[in-house]
Symmetry: C2
Subunit: 197 residues, 2 copies
């Protein structure tokens, strides 16, 4: 039974674990085959250890338009080759739904794109609010060497997730380290999106 009464919870840092949550989702290297550009580096890393890339603590609410799903996202620091650790990234299944992020800790970037192929990359750092408008797929990337990237997220209850499209086509842009700094580059493996309504 989901609560119908108001509730509140804390998010302690540096952990980013809410004092109250319903689901704890963990994503390891093995859950993202084909998503990192440097496939030999991916295979070599996976042969050594199935590293934890990111975690999500979810507050579950009914999946209806007036509710707001929310929680914290924690992307750990690290690289696969020159590419930073990142989330799978997804479109919302109900494409016309937005998302708000508030960055609590760390340094990173949100990589975004529409089904029509427009793209945008926005910086994430503590105290910044990011608006992902309806129609924009989004992936968070941790560009720090030593700190978790921790964000608070809020999205409409009816949004749902479409991971499949990104798994197939990737994002147009990658975030890689060059000369010790994050740089946004074209993804050579990107495939043009299939026609979407």
């Amino acid at each position: 039974m989901l609560p119908t009464d108001p509730f509140s919870f804390g998010v302690s840092l540096p952990g980013g674990i809410p004092t109250r949550y319903d689901n704890h989702i963990t994503r390891r290297l093995s859950s993202m085959p084909g998503q990192f550009a440097d496939q030999p580096a991916y295979a070599a890393m996976l042969a050594q250890e199935d590293v934890l890339l990111y975690e999500v603590y979810e507050i579950v609410r009914p999946h209806v338009a007036g509710e707001l799903l929310h929680g914290t996202s924690i992307v750990h620091p690290g690289q696969v080759g020159k590419e930073y650790f990142m989330t799978k990234g997804h479109f919302h299944a109900e494409l016309e739904t937005a998302e708000v992020y508030y960055c609590l800790q760390g340094a990173g970037m949100m990589v975004m794109e529409t089904p029509e192929g427009e793209w945008s990359v926005q910086e994430l750092r503590p105290g910044r609010v990011l608006y992902v408008p309806p129609r924009w797929a989004h992936r968070s990337v941790n560009t720090s060497h030593d700190q978790d990237l921790i964000t608070l997220f809020v999205y409409p209850g009816h949004a749902g997730h479409d991971y499949g499209t990104i798994e197939q086509q990737g994002f147009r842009k990658l975030v890689v380290e060059r000369d010790g700094r994050p740089q946004v580059v074209d993804n050579p493996g990107w495939r043009p999106p299939a026609a979407r309504s």
Copy 2:
């Protein structure tokens, strides 16, 4: 024209002013007649100065279900008699819509109630997330003596505001100072809600 591309902005503290916003709303003492319990104290204060009680910086988005309206709320410290400065408080016009608050600074309480007369008061302090479920009217109260209460808020684009119901009936509970501490007490002026659908 509202942007269709992603955007991000900072919220610097202690001001709470976003580096980007569409509307700046200010509410002074004169905009809340009949809302504070101690009416002689209210009249005396207003005769001296029409004090600024709170401010809202709004990011405007289309008023449809998939969008998320958001911004910052800044309640200044102060009291009318023994009652702390607070926002007008409201139901959402579309009653079945929620709201998420994240407290950035200060100390306060969110006073909430349903049309059926259930009530809840939750503490606001930095690092705490508050979920206001659908159907719950909400008012934020600054219980600090010297600090602004600053929150980040997110609610569905189709929520709308119903201020009239609270202006007529008030909230069931007041937050007043007793022995130097905030205390939640019954509102002697509260009127039972009219039947609502």
